[in-house]
């Protein structure tokens, strides 16, 4: 039943009483319990609460009361976003010791995005798997399970929001939330053939998102189509007094008949798989047929984006993850003194998280700060200026989301550098703080990335919809 539904026609059918919310959710959980054994998109389910909420929605409908905009819409939430009363693991043993199923961190309050979704009537089905602390590109770095790509279970769903992408692709929900620090929404969206938006930095409140790299992190929607993505974005966006970096979107983009798109010449070079390149080129052709004009542009600092990103992201992570000291929350390993307690507790971090914290500590330490961190911050300005210059000439920029098709489980796990290269087309967007969507193209697990200037989400949605109207 859920297979053919979008948010809008779900709402219509629910209001017309073609099904009740309760019966819809009972069937949905039946499906999830059966089919998620193979995919492992979820870390935990919220069945009891969800069924209770569904009953409440049915009451509202029978009383003919005014219905909220996402009334009864099933959604899945990445397990680094706090939902009051539910366990939140961030995919890490440090927050939820697997040997102690009852233990672990339970979120004491809702993230702002969750508050907004609940107010809008959305119903949370469960929390989805992710790379530990959102650090990874395949969801294999989760401390708990490996999520499989719904279109080919031998392959990864991408990451770090792999569980959220797989949950949408498998129709376990109508939308999910992910978080994107260097491509963690867009790359899994591409790999799982769903739509994913990394909003402009500040467009969506980060309050209640477990921080990885605060100047790069954004929460965003993952959906079956562009319209649904727009609907969810409209609900979750906005300034929040609890996140001082959040802003209100005021900018209006003039309606222009002709859309001018730039294709950066630096993105279609070595390392890109031929299937990705040809899918990208056929998609561009389809946009041309709809009257979109293309021109070649240059983002000259592209090749420096990945090293710049890893320095900045790891530096911020080393500072953000200092809070996991075992004292205030999470797992705790007693040592002989306080420092021994810290380091024994923090030994529970997974390999990749340790690697990034230590790299971050290194680039921030005396004697190395100027050579690494400060230099990376300067390159970050260069990368941002590249985009600013490009957007003087064109309205939007198109690139592939990832240089490769989904890779095999285990293929890149032992070589961190190889894994980092998965993000080569997505990290610049986070460094510059601009918004970008990933839409599935040519019925392949390939995403087309549409990048716009700050706060140009509406323009990105309108353009992305052109492709769906084939």
């Amino acid at each position: 039943m859920i297979e053919n539904l979008t948010i809008e026609n779900f709402l219509e059918k629910l209001k017309n009483k073609e099904f009740s919310a309760k019966e819809f959710f009972e069937k949905l959980f039946e499906k999830i319990e059966k089919e998620d054994k193979e995919i492992e998109a979820f870390l935990s389910l919220n069945k009891e609460e969800a069924l209770k909420s569904a009953e409440k929605i049915d009451e509202l409908i029978s009383k003919k009361e005014k219905l909220p905009p996402l009334c009864g819409v099933p959604c899945a939430i990445k397990d680094n976003i706090l939902v009051e009363g539910l366990k939140c693991t961030a995919g890490s043993k440090i927050l939820a010791p697997p040997e102690n199923i009852l233990g672990g961190y339970v979120a004491p309050f809702d993230a702002t995005v969750i508050k907004k979704l609940k107010k809008a009537g959305a119903i949370i089905v469960g929390k989805t798997n992710l790379d530990e602390f959102a650090m990874g590109s395949s969801t294999e770095y989760s401390a708990f399970k490996i999520t499989r790509n719904p279109h080919d279970p031998e392959r990864v769903p991408g990451g770090s929001s792999g569980g959220s992408a797989a949950a949408v692709a498998k129709n376990f929900c109508l939308f999910s939330l992910g978080s994107d620090t260097g491509g963690s929404i867009r790359q899994p969206a591409g790999f799982c053939k769903v739509v994913g938006l990394k909003p402009t930095y500040g467009a969506v409140s980060r309050f209640g998102l477990i921080a990885f790299a605060s100047s790069l992190d954004q929460i965003g929607p993952m959906t079956k189509n562009v319209r649904d993505c727009e609907i969810v974005f409209e609900i979750i966006k906005g300034k929040d007094p609890l996140d001082s970096t959040s802003v209100e979107i005021e900018k209006k983009f003039e309606e222009k008949k002709e859309i001018k798109v730039g294709i950066p010449k630096e993105y279609l070079v070595e390392g890109i798989e031929p299937e990705v390149k040809s899918a990208f080129e056929s998609a561009v052709k389809k946009f041309q047929e709809k009257g979109v004009k293309f021109e070649e542009i240059s983002l000259p600092h592209t090749e420096y984006a990945l090293p710049c990103y890893y320095i900045i992201a790891c530096a911020e992570a080393s500072s953000n993850l200092a809070r996991y000291d075992g004292l205030r929350y999470g797992n705790f390993c007693e040592g002989k003194d306080i420092f021994d307690t810290y380091s024994k507790t923090r030994a529970l971090f997974g390999k990749e998280v340790k690697r990034r914290i230590i790299l971050g500590t290194f680039v921030l330490s005396a004697g190395y700060y100027e050579a690494f961190y400060l230099k990376a911050q300067k390159v970050r300005r260069k990368i941002k200026e590249d985009f600013e210059r490009a957007f003087e000439k064109v309205d939007l920029i198109f690139t592939p989301v990832s240089p490769t098709l989904p890779f095999k489980i285990g293929e890149k796990i032992t070589d961190p550098l190889k894994m980092y290269l998965s993000d080569i087309f997505t990290v610049s967007v986070n460094l510059a703080g601009v918004p970008a969507i990933s839409i599935p193209i040519e019925n392949l697990p390939v995403g087309l990335q549409i990048i716009g200037p700050h706060f140009s989400e509406s323009k990105i949605f309108e353009t992305a919809k052109l492709y769906e109207r084939n």
Binding site: Y105, V106, P108, F109, Y201, G202, S215, S244, T245, H301, Y304, L306, P307, C308, Y310, I311, S318, D325, G326, L327, R328, Y329, G330, F332, D337, I338, T341, Y342, S343, K344, R346, A347, F349, K351, K354, R355, I357, I358, G360, T361, F362, S365, F372, L374, K375, A376, Q377, K378, V379, R381, K382, K384, D415, P416, L417, Y420, A432, G433, V434, H454
Partner: protein, 94 residues
């Protein structure tokens, strides 16, 4: 690198097993070599950028502000590893 990987692991307060260190160090050196690519650029007059938007620092008076209710306070305390009354109990620092 004058200081070794173990030194920075200690700074980061992360305990590593002997056998972990070697593998970490190998990959770490590879990553360092990779990020050294930035040295190719001339960045003499470039101002560092720490944040993608032009935001100003939000300052407020140093006053206690209530966040949430008693129930929330109880929930926050539930996560403490050890507590004494309303306080988080930790090992002595000095």
């Amino acid at each position: 690198m004058e200081k070794n990987f173990e030194y920075f692991a200690k700074l980061a307060k992360i305990y590593l097993e002997e056998k972990e260190i070697e593998n970490f160090e190998k990959n770490f050196l590879k990553i360092l070599e990779f990020v050294r690519k930035l040295e190719e650029l001339d960045l003499k007059d470039v101002k560092p950028l720490s944040h993608p938007l032009d935001l100003e620092n939000v300052e407020r008076e140093d006053k206690v502000k209530e966040f949430g209710d008693e129930i929330l306070k109880e929930k926050l305390k539930e996560s403490f590893c050890k507590k004494k009354g309303d306080f988080l109990k930790v090992k002595k620092i000095l």
